[in-house]
Symmetry: C2
Subunit: 733 residues, 2 copies
């Protein structure tokens, strides 16, 4: 028989004051695997819901204990030559595995798999996993820098949108398996596509417990066998290519590999064929021009199957604090929303743990590309041999697993490593090692050392900066090749806030309360009232008199701000070919955050604004600023943005200004057509703004033949001191 | 007995019209090994001296033939178990080796060693090496791009200072050796220094023809044995560090490795202990500042043994057209001059072949650092598996050889690969492969993919650019972290020109003559009269009426221009920490070139100007421009530049203007002291310039206590239309 899993084991857990402590039988508590020691402890000791109020404080310090998991070696009826194995995909973070009291394995890392052969262990023997306290670099303050020497993801040490809650425990499945004596340890499906994509030259390689021949078959998306091979290589003619959902179909084949050995151990996996590259952005070679001449910006334009894409997407962070609570269902609704948002690329941020296989499987199926980072973020990871050995092992495990997925777009060493707050540079051995490992194990997938690279932009993360520029202005003066992080904060909805901010703290929001615990205040020193941005809201609108009003105003800013950057980046195409907002999701309820989806998968109004800005084709306006004055001359450039690989016929775009219920047509732009993937600039509207009662006006762009292209911009207007003037008909400028 | 070389073989050569051509006995010509087929052919067929006039044309097309070298297997009296080996360090470029008519080896590459075991071949058997025609990429024009798919250095395909003469043949020694059965193939001396440099942890590893134990001893610079080890590792306490000559002593130890096997095969080599890094330049982390925020510039400051250096040096190119003509003597006078010029770093440019071991040995001994590039330059080297396999093999050979030398400062993928004229980028697999190989084989030496990197500057290469800026202005507006290439062209001396320009062509210099063959005209499209720059000379000085006058004017520009950039770069320290002019030497007589040394080792006047600008301590003036008008207010900022690791006491710097034999003191600057490695800005002089007869004036800076710091600037002045005005005493500004 092929490899089969036994029923899940029953695990128990005990908290130890030191590695060698004796555990009284009363001290054992039930353990859920996968899970986390903190979750088991909370359940056993009735700790309050960590998502509510300031309860997260009750979880402080649990990461400083040793924790002992225990179960017993199961009784398994083994056929001749079968093996009983324990297999895990990694654990959090450093542990000793003991069988019958003897340490048989020392393991480090969330992504490095481990396995133990238990065939010779007596059924019922104790099996223990001793989890060490979370690593904390000495001499570091209590922040992310405590993780600057390990591959344990830094996010749980605290971030501006993540509580300090350092996870620990068995975060991945730990399976008891019966395997044939000769079994598959790893299957690798690799291929190269010919330049014209007419053929895929496939190489299937396997790692086994003992030498064995193998057969494999490949089935097309309809399930028909298209290849049946008894050697490692074969050629598939006319492969159906894997495309992102907006450019085609994410065609998935499936490969089945079977060992020619007793038991016929078998692995089945979905695979896809695509060629992904990072290529130079349009115009890049013209810069720099004069002497002394430096280099051209590095390539950041994603090319899929020979076609340059505009990468529209977002920064994906861990969707739960505890990786052990994440499963395929966690991803499902979030990834369906990402596709609904017209995203075609997600950047999996290096501060967070690398996602599980089900994440990549869903991205494969949905046609979403993934930018995958290694677990380095905002720290200066050292050149020490101990760290490099850990990173070598963990990164190889990550590459071997993730490279199987057609959704993988690029590897990245980690987040913001070449900036002052990290202090790593191109000579850092950790990044040279990652480049080496990616080159050795997955050379045809692009690798970048970090983001931002030269030419790419990160930030701003505010609607209004300290110089008074608003987000419209900030990005209209940007000249970046990719906006791989930018954000605009917004509050959570009132209803949602009420679920985790105690009623007595709800109004007014104040520092030092649950609002601050949930990141409304004091989270980021560049924004003194982060992320609720009360000062910015007051700047534009004056004092807010209710929670409802404050939230509505914050949502308005987040909607118009987020939308404006996506559209501006697309207007800057093809020099710019990427816009990924910070951030998509969040791992727990935040009171305010740059996320566009509240935990666990609740879209904020900004989600829908971003969704509108990411439609493959839309009418767009470059609006100089968010807030205007009555009597001021309003201007906006009209654009049509087309990410479709297809052209569109000409038509007429109508720009209308709506104010206090009155509509004024400003301009009709007859355009003769829209080329594939064209950002087409049109005329500018110009109109003197009237006095309003409502404090706002709307610019509406509509195209009769394509109502799905229509766009609306809701802008702020302040009264002038002068008498109101009616909006005048706009002139072409 | 250990390995011993037999007497050099007698080689013959024949030109073949095809690989299989039969050679008549009369067609064999004598061959010199090492050498080149073109040199043997020229000798046999009385081709004219290629350095003279346009004779190089007589060598055209020789690279398109097959060439057959032959000798015979020597008779060697072998003791029991001894082996007769043929060993070579590489050859130019692709060859088949045959013994007694049978092909036993196919070899590619100038740097990859090869060896053959001839023990079983009958003495007197024919030994043949069939050299294939030079590789030329189809569909390329007759320029460097024909070498864009091979590791054969591109320079011989033609450059703006190198004739098109594509070398071919046995360019390295080919030795017949008798070796003990168990012999040393490779010895690797590696070490790590503790952070405080108090200990060197040494690892000696060997590759042998069969397993064997070994002993090794280490002798200090005085020849005393300081370590005697019978295992691979040992620790040296208080190692004397290797320093560049300007910062200390280039201390060299020697290691002797002896096999514990019959024959006691032995290798002796000089070694040194240093730690070299590329670190971030001062202030780099403060940039970029605003959002959207990109990355900080990559590190380009050389740190040696914990001390940041200002790298003063030059770009080293091949000192001969034919690598086979290069030996230790070729390097000796050039490298002695480099040290005399106060250089501490040479960039070995990737267009040229990697230098031989004697180059690095001399740099080790002289205390000169070496920036070593791989053989890629100004081309788009492809991602093809054939090229990557060649590059992998050749680069590993280069790294294994050169990493033994303490003079090695950094690895670089190649020259100007990330610019429009090359079109490679960070995703190019060749560069990822080189990073991988350097990381695997020499991880503690810095690696950069190419120069320029972001922040570094290449060019300008002209005294005056197309916008009318002169070289003073161009670099005073530069804000680069390293000036790794910049140049100022100058003619060769009149006497030297007469040795290779036919008398009848000497005056006036004209395109289409030997002047153009030797790069005076038409060499670079950015400078229509390159490199003689007659238009620039005419711009500043009017028509030249004799060769002597033209050359003197050109030399003047090259002197003041080259000097000005070195000093400006040093004034920009510590943000800038590197100035390497293009170029140091040249491989044949040029009529005009950016070189500061004429072929083979004849310093041009600019050499001495550069030497003055590279003194570790000097007085310096930032002068706004080269040419002035009588009556104009001359200004210059005074500086003291100290690259010494030691401080200097205060003193008084006197600035004097000399004109038509009259001296006018402009300013006395009493400075209180000069810190180690400080670039100290002082006051500015200001003086209205007089009418002159001579068309020039000199700014003289002198410091009574340190006449070795004195500097002179010879500047141009044109008559005004107004009456002459005496120079006035300058005011501090």
């Amino acid at each position: 028989m092929p490899t089969r899993s036994l029923a899940p084991a029953v695990w128990q857990l005990a908290r130890l004051s030191s590695a060698g402590s004796v555990v009284e039988s009363a001290d054992w508590i039930p353990a859920t695997v996968p899970g986390a020691v903190q979750l088991d402890w909370a359940r056993a000791r009735d700790l309050p819901d960590l998502n509510f109020g300031q309860n997260v404080r009750a979880y402080e310090g649990l990461e400083d204990f040793f924790w002992l998991y225990r179960t017993t070696v199961p009784a398994a009826s083994l056929q001749a030559d079968e093996r009983l194995m324990l297999a895990g995909g990694g654990l959090d973070y450093h542990a000793e595995l003991r069988v019958a009291g003897r340490t048989v394995l020392v393991h480090t890392g969330l992504c490095t798999p481990f396995e133990l052969d238990l065939t010779d262990a007596a059924p019922g023997s104790p099996l223990e996993i001793l989890i060490h306290p979370a690593p904390k670099r000495q001499s570091s303050p209590a922040d992310r820098s405590q993780a600057a020497h390990v591959t344990k993801p830094a996010v749980s040490y605290g971030w501006d949108w993540h509580p300090r809650l350092i996870t620990l425990g068995l975060c991945e499945e730990v399976r008891f398996e019966v395997r044939p004596a000769v079994h598959l340890r790893h299957v690798d499906f690799a291929y190269t596509l010919t330049d014209d994509f007419s053929e895929a030259h496939i190489t299937v390689s396997i790692e086994t417990s003992a030498p064995a021949a193998f057969r494999w078959t490949l089935r097309d998306p309809e399930g028909r066998v298209v290849l049946d091979a008894d050697g490692p290589t074969a050629t598939l003619a006319s492969p159906r290519l894997w495309w992102t959902h907006d450019h085609g179909e994410p065609a998935l084949y499936s490969v089945e590999v079977t060992l020619a050995a007793p038991g016929a151990d078998t692995v089945v996996r979905r695979v896809g064929f695509r060629r992904v590259r990072l290529v130079m952005q349009a115009g890049a070679w013209d810069h720099p021009s004069g002497f002394p001449k430096s280099r051209s910006h590095p390539p950041t334009t994603v090319e899929l199957n020979g076609r340059r894409l505009f990468a529209r997407g977002s920064n994906w962070v861990n969707p739960e604090i505890f990786p052990g609570r994440i499963n395929a269902d966690t991803y499902r609704s979030l990834l369906a929303l990402a596709r609904d948002a017209h995203f075609n690329l997600l950047r999996c941020w290096g501060g967070a743990p690398v996602a599980k296989d089900s994440f990549f499987e869903q991205c494969d199926a949905l046609g979403l590309l993934v930018w995958q980072e290694f677990p380095l973020a905002c720290n200066c990871y050292p050149d020490t041999s101990a760290y490099l050995a850990d990173l070598d092992r963990e990164s190889r495990a990550i590459i071997r697993r993730v490279r199987q997925h057609p959704s993988l777009a690029l590897w990245c060493g980690g987040n913001e490593l070449f900036n002052a707050w990290s202090g790593m540079d191109d000579q850092s051995l950790a990044l040279r090692l990652l480049n080496r490992n990616c080159f050795d194990l997955d050379p045809t997938t692009p690798f970048i050392a970090t983001a931002p690279l030269d030419g790419m932009g990160h930030g701003d993360y505010r609607f209004r900066d300290e110089t008074g520029r608003d987000i419209f202005q900030i990005f209209q003066s940007g000249e970046n090749t990719a906006y791989s992080e930018f954000g605009c904060p917004g509050p959570s909805s009132v209803d949602y806030l009420k679920t985790f901010i105690p009623a007595g703290e709800l109004w007014p929001p104040r520092p030092g309360t649950s609002w601050e615990t949930h990141h409304a205040f004091g989270a980021w020193d560049m924004e003194p009232t982060s992320w609720l941005c009360t000062a910015t809201i007051q700047h534009y609108f004056g004092e807010s008199t209710s929670l409802e009003q404050l939230v509505a105003r914050g949502e308005w800013l987040q909607c118009e701000g987020s939308k404006s950057v996506f559209e501006e980046a697309r207007r800057q195409a093809p020099r710019c070919a990427m816009a990924l907002n910070w951030c998509y999701n969040e791992p727990w309820p935040t009171a305010a955050n740059n996320s566009i989806i509240s935990y666990p998968a609740l879209p904020k109004p900004a989600f829908y604004a971003v969704q509108a800005a990411c439609r493959p084709v839309l009418a767009s306006a470059r609006i100089p600023k968010f807030q205007w004055k009555a009597g001021e001359a309003f201007t906006a450039e009209l654009w049509l943005l087309n990410d479709h690989p297809a052209a569109h016929a000409g038509g007429e775009l109508v720009a209308t200004l709506e104010c206090d219920g009155r509509s004024t047509e400003l301009l009709r732009w007859g355009f003769s057509g829209l080329a594939p993937q064209q950002s087409l600039a049109g005329p500018s509207v110009r109109a003197v703004l009237p006095e309003t009662d409502g404090g706002e006006f709307t610019l509406l762009l509509s195209e009769a033949g394509h109502p799905e292209w229509d766009s609306r911009y809701r802008l702020s207007i302040r009264p002038s001191r002068r008498p109101a003037v009616a909006a005048t008909r706009a002139m072409n400028t």
